[in-house]
């Protein structure tokens, strides 16, 4: 936050930060517009502004005041950019995996539009990086993946930028919003590297980078508001009084309808403004913010006796939710923590479950807050900081000050519960505990079904994470939660997370190669159900990897049927722990691809797409390396050209990743 408002007095800063902590995203964005409007109007009072906004909505015909301009700018067919041409162009790039960065890029564009700046929004995977040198203002929202990597579909963009061909960016102003997960060692490093590199190439940093943790909403909203303010054309640069009104329109455009004093303005604005606002209103009633309680229709263990894994097939009902999805999309699952873990924690801390604690939007009893609102498994830097202070432990203090690698290793071996046990804090207050915890986050699962085959249902393939740490059994938050949803009236809150990067080709004749390991096979089940329902004629080839044939051949009978029916053209299953009773050499999907290299090459040359889903750390890079070798060998290309072939495939949306 320190980068946010560099010129404020400490008092002002505190006030703003205190205010910011109570705001939700829409409020923050609204206020950004409000302040921008204030700045541009010169001297309105804080109280007058909402009124002005309200009046704007009613007084579209006036045309006399700046505020009125704004309202008319929001009217159908009258784009703000026409009324107030921007002095500089703005491009917003996003690099996304789960869709959060894309969503934020959209919000950023809306906020920019409110400032009278029409932004071009592009996915890094679609963007031609050579065009960077022609940009003027460039705002980037990017996630970080795996061990500090860019999102899979943005790898090409990052590689280009890091390479020698990267252009000089003199005259380009830029800002980076970086998303990540603080439990990883290389937290937000993709954004950090990008930020550094853009500066290195001569760009002018318009706004300091902000790194956002998984509870990114507030930090991101603040950054967006700030960034929007900074790209606003300077007053006088245009001949109309646009910015003021544009600010009002922007407020209307993104605010949710119907609450508070600005309700009227919001409704007006939404009704009058462009597509994004309309979409907001017409979007399903259920969303990430308001997940749908899906009832559990079926919950079976797919893995057979003797498996080293517990992989489940969970069927959820979306009936009545209005939620729809396409094959390739993910389902966000809002989990709850294991009640036994909550109880253990409370016991270790001698805290009462009934003590009220502050949570976003109010108060909850501690027990409920721990179960529903906070991450209480993995520890985070924030928790480490809090706990080091509370416990006064020199060891924790050293860790906090030490390097990230050591911290990450420590987090891997020590959950919140282990901190509590090893570094006791006698007499801790409930509020002190939750201050160090981060909000409980939904988990995304690739949907394993198609609505065409299973109307009103979403199927998930979930590997239940179970292991022992310090002689205590641990379970994954969401997978453990799903695993125990066995009773008839069980429900779980869900929402649909679109995944534009992982779609079936629109052309049903296009061949597809699907490479998946473990639960990575889930979207392919959706693909095949969809292609079967559509009567698609394109060939499809599944390369599936797991540990043991007998127990882990997920959906085996379904694949056999699909093969027999000709929906699936070809299936190459490969099992890593079957050879010589598990003592033999391990083979993985990438090995099988190499063995079938000539065919893979032939399919690619015939226009096939190749999808890769599953493990991001070993499998996806392994597959990439195998593909590179295949392309080099069968295409007669040198390694660099083979890489470029794959990059080209990626740019053409023919090499698609959904890895985690």
């Amino acid at each position: 936050m320190s980068a946010l408002i560099p010129t404020l007095t400490p008092d002002q800063r505190d006030s703003v930060q205190r205010l910011a902590a109570t705001l939700d995203r829409e409020q923050t964005i609204w206020l950004s517009g409000y302040f921008a409007g204030l700045a541009n109007a010169g001297a309105a009072s804080a109280l007058a502004a909402p009124d002005a906004a309200t009046q704007n909505g009613a007084a579209t015909a006036d045309g006399a005041s700046a505020a009125t301009n704004g309202a008319s700018a929001g009217a159908p067919g009258a784009a703000p950019a026409e009324a107030a041409p921007a002095a500089r162009t703005l491009t917003i790039l996003f690099g996304t995996d789960t869709g959060n960065a894309k969503e934020l890029a959209g919000e950023l564009a809306t906020a920019a539009k409110a400032q009278g700046v029409e932004a071009k929004v592009a996915d890094m995977s679609d963007y031609k990086p050579r065009a960077l040198k022609d940009e003027q203002d460039l705002l980037v929202v990017t996630a970080t993946h795996g061990e500090g990597d860019p999102p899979p579909n943005a790898v090409g963009f990052f590689e280009f930028l890091a390479g020698r061909k990267a252009p000089k960016l003199d005259g380009v102003r830029f800002g980076v919003l970086s998303l990540g997960d603080s439990t990883y060692e290389h937290y937000c490093s993709a954004g950090r590297l990008l930020d550094e590199r853009l500066a290195e190439l001569g760009g002018e940093r318009l706004i300091d980078r902000v790194d956002c943790d998984v509870d990114y909403e507030d930090d991101a909203a603040a950054w967006i508001a700030d960034a929007a303010g900074r790209i606003a054309p300077e007053r006088g640069a245009t001949d109309a009084g646009g910015p003021n009104g544009a600010a009002a329109g922007g407020v209307n455009g993104v605010a949710p309808g119907g609450t508070g004093p600005n309700g009227a303005a919001a409704v007006n604005g939404a009704a009058a403004s462009g597509a994004s606002a309309t979409a907001t209103l017409e979007a399903p009633a259920y969303s990430k913010k308001r997940p749908f309680p899906a009832s559990v229709l079926d919950n079976v263990v797919l893995t057979g006796r003797g498996s080293t894994k517990e992989t489940r097939h969970v069927e959820l009902s979306l009936e009545g939710s209005g939620l729809t999805y396409e094959p390739g999309d993910a389902l966000g699952v809002v989990p709850a923590n294991d009640p036994a873990l909550v109880e253990t924690l409370l016991g270790e801390l001698s805290l009462s479950a009934d003590t009220p604690v502050p949570v976003k939007g109010g108060q909850l009893p501690l027990g409920e807050a721990l179960a529903q609102r906070f991450e209480i498994t993995a520890a985070t830097p924030r928790f480490l900081e809090q706990w080091a202070t509370l416990s006064g432990s020199a060891e924790l203090e050293a860790l906090r000050a030490g390097d990230a690698k050591a911290r990450t290793a420590f987090f891997r071996g020590h959950h919140v519960l282990d901190f509590v046990r090893l570094f006791p804090v006698p007499g801790i207050e409930a509020e002190q505990l939750v201050a160090g915890l981060r909000p409980l986050q939904p988990r995304l699962y690739s949907i394993a079904s198609s609505l065409a085959a299973a109307p009103d249902e979403a199927h998930l393939t979930v590997s239940t994470v179970r292991y022992d740490l310090h002689e205590t059994g641990r379970t994954g938050v969401a997978s453990g939660h799903l695993a125990q949803l066995l009773h008839d009236d069980a429900t779980v809150p869900v929402y649909v997370q679109q995944n534009e990067h992982f779609r079936l080709p629109a052309d049903d004749d296009t061949p597809i190669i699907m490479v998946g390991a473990g639960t990575g096979v889930a979207p392919y089940r959706a693909f095949m159900q969809e292609r079967e329902a559509r009567g698609a004629s394109g060939r499809s080839w599944l390369v599936f990897g797991e540990r043991n044939f007998r127990s882990d051949f997920l959906y085996q009978v379904e694949w056999q049927t699909l093969l027999k029916d000709g929906v699936l053209t070809r299936l190459d299953p490969v099992f890593s722990r079957d050879a010589a009773g598990g003592r033999g050499p391990k083979t993985y999907v990438q090995d099988r691809l190499r063995q079938r290299g000539a065919d893979v090459w032939a399919w690619l040359e015939e226009g096939s797409r190749i999808y890769v889903c599953g493990d991001a750390d070993a499998m996806a890079p392994g597959v990439r390396a195998a593909l590179k070798d295949i392309v080099a060998e069968h295409g007669g290309l040198d390694p660099e050209a083979a890489d470029e072939y794959l990059n080209e495939l990626g740019r053409d949306h023919r090499y698609l990743l959904d890895v985690y």
């Binding site: 057979g304 959906y555 009978v557």
Partner: protein
């Protein structure tokens, strides 16, 4: 090693008989299995392709049928069938492989190989069968070629252990008559090698050996492309033991000796156990003694008998295709006449012989050659280590001494035979060391020692009820009745199968149970103690309570009313519990 069997087409049969269902008919009029065999390239099918199919550990239906001729059945773990269906996994397919071991004679090296295969691929066990051979369960399809190679290393194969051919040839194992046994066993071996199918498909499929020339008309000089109508079982008995149940064989030879020299055989034809519930046209049948031949006539006789069945057997309805039905359909006189016509000479009148039992004489015996033999009861033939009873380890240790030959008995037991007296203490020490005795774990009644059960659940696809996993416990309960009535030492035969097909030869036991549904059995009483008479069903489709009730009643009456030396199976007929079955075709009356 033997002369080639040749296909002698019958020149004008002397009597006009119905030929509308036999091999003289065009393929399209016959059962689908006939077309499958005909088009299989002499049993090769596409087995080799299925063996490397990566999306399943099963083989397709047709190849499964063909693999039976190679000694292999596909099975699945029925305990897991339902749960795996819900898991969207295919059934837990495994394979049963049955070896060919004429007369059940097994060298220590062969025993060690079976032990090794069982431990490596067969769930750490193997099984001795009611036809004196060994079988492995739980084999993965991916292990089959390795198993086949292992068997070949020690001179074994699995040809024709199943399928529409002459099965592994049985031979009685009377340890007291070692010299005679040896001569009979040699004949059994010759017979087995003679009747075995010759197709090069076996070597091609399992060992990847391409045949020198494509398989053509001469591939199977005797069988031709369609092989037999159904399985064909041959056995040799050495009186007074009828351990091989000669009356249950399609073709049986009763050894006739003079002063310890084998002279010839009485010929018995038309036995068979299999039947189908609620299908009265199917029934078990005991063989008929049709005459005597000299030893030299053995192979021509086998060819003549099998030739009649090959040419006249029913190839339209498989449940009616066994030799026993051919005989009852065409008449015993016609069949005997046709055999004699093919032999070119009439059969001599049968010689006198006497059987006394069909069980094994357990424990130590000294043979007429001065060698020692130990007959070991193995419950249901299962060679396995159990807690406190390392049977598999013990027999392996004994095999490693190479001081005995193993003889598998038709009652699923094993004889450690041909032990020099000087070596006996070493064998006895190993038996003791591994707690191997003829006192079974669960009880020591003579009933248990005369019990047999088929495998049934969880591997057999045909089983409708438990058998091997259940009979030992049921016997424990029956032992309560025996003790109450002072019958613990009384040998009574009891056999159980999971279906009506009769793998444990149930229809000639004094007490028999055949499965109908989980926990439900048909109960039969009145079989002959030495296999000379079929039993009769007394209760249909009943549970353990009814079974125990009937046995309680009949065993109590037997204890009180039996005459000296009277067998239980004879008593229940005399006392009127069941009617005597004089001929198979009246079994269902």
């Amino acid at each position: 090693m033997a002369t080639k069997m040749t296909k002698t087409s019958p020149a004008a049969a002397p009597v006009e008989v119905d030929r509308s269902r036999d091999i003289s008919q065009p393929l399209e009029k016959l059962a689908p299995e006939e077309r499958l065999k005909f088009n299989s390239d002499y049993l090769a099918g596409s087995i080799a392709e299925d063996l490397i199919d990566e999306i399943t550990l099963a083989v397709d239906e047709n190849n499964n049928k063909l693999m039976k001729f190679h000694g292999i059945y596909q099975q699945d773990d029925r305990d897991q069938r339902d749960e795996r269906r819900l898991q969207k996994l295919e059934p837990y397919y495994t394979f049963m492989l049955r070896g060919r071991m004429p007369g059940g004679v097994c060298t220590p090296q062969q025993w060690l190989k079976m032990d090794e295969i069982g431990r490596t691929y067969g769930n750490e066990q193997f099984r001795l069968t009611t036809r004196q051979t060994f079988q492995f369960h739980y084999l993965n399809r991916t292990a089959l070629r390795d198993v086949m190679l292992g068997l070949r290393e020690v001179g074994l194969d699995s040809k024709a252990a199943c399928g529409d051919v002459a099965r592994t040839v049985m031979s009685g194992v009377h340890p007291g008559l070692s010299k005679l046994h040896k001569q009979v066993y040699e004949q059994a071996q010759i017979a087995s090698d003679h009747v075995i199918h010759k197709t090069s498909a076996y070597e091609e499929v399992w060992f990847g050996e391409k045949p020198a020339q494509p398989r053509g008309e001469n591939e199977e000089p005797f069988y031709g492309k369609q092989y037999m109508p159904r399985k064909f079982k041959i056995g040799f008995a050495v009186p007074p033991s009828n351990d091989i149940d000669i009356y249950s064989q399609d073709l049986g030879f009763v050894a006739i000796a003079s002063r310890g020299r084998l002279k010839g055989f009485n010929v018995v034809i038309g036995g068979g156990m299999g039947r189908t519930d609620r299908a009265p046209e199917t029934y078990p049948r005991l063989g008929d003694v049709i005459g005597y031949i000299d030893v030299e006539q053995l192979l021509p006789t086998i060819e003549a008998v099998m030739g009649v069945q090959r040419d006249y057997g029913d190839r339209v309805t498989r449940s009616h295709a066994r030799f026993k039905y051919t005989i009852d359909d065409k008449g015993l006189d016609f069949v005997t006449g046709e055999i004699e016509r093919r032999l070119g000479v009439p059969l001599a009148p049968a010689k006198a012989f006497k059987f006394t039992a069909n069980g094994d004489q357990l424990g130590w015996t000294t043979g007429d050659d001065g060698l020692e033999h130990f007959t070991l009861f193995i419950e249901n033939g299962r060679v396995i280590n159990r807690p406190g009873h390392p049977l598999m380890d013990g027999l392996k240790a004994i095999a490693e001494t190479e001081k005995c030959v193993f003889r598998l008995t038709p009652n699923q037991s094993v004889i450690l035979s041909d032990i020099a007296p000087v070596d006996r203490p070493a064998i006895e020490a190993l038996l003791a060391e591994h707690a191997i005795t003829n006192t079974p774990q669960k009880g020591r009644s003579a009933l248990r020692l005369n019990s047999m059960a088929c495998v049934a659940m969880p591997t057999c696809a045909l089983a409708m009820a438990e058998s091997e996993r259940y009979l030992p416990d049921l016997i424990t309960r029956i032992e309560g009745l025996l003790e109450k009535n002072g019958l613990t030492e009384e040998p009574i035969t009891i056999r159980m199968t999971g279906c009506p097909n009769g793998c444990a030869r149930p229809y000639i036991a004094e007490i028999a149970l055949t499965g109908r549904a989980p926990g439900k059995y048909n109960l039969y009483l009145g079989g002959g103690f030495h296999g000379e008479r079929l039993n009769k069903m007394v209760r249909e489709n009943v549970g353990e309570d009814v079974i125990m009730e009937v046995l309680d009643d009949t065993l109590a009456r037997y204890a009180q009313e039996r005459q000296p030396g009277e067998r239980f199976g004879d008593f229940v007929i005399r006392a009127g519990f069941v009617a005597e079955v004089k001929e198979g075709r009246h079994f269902n009356d």
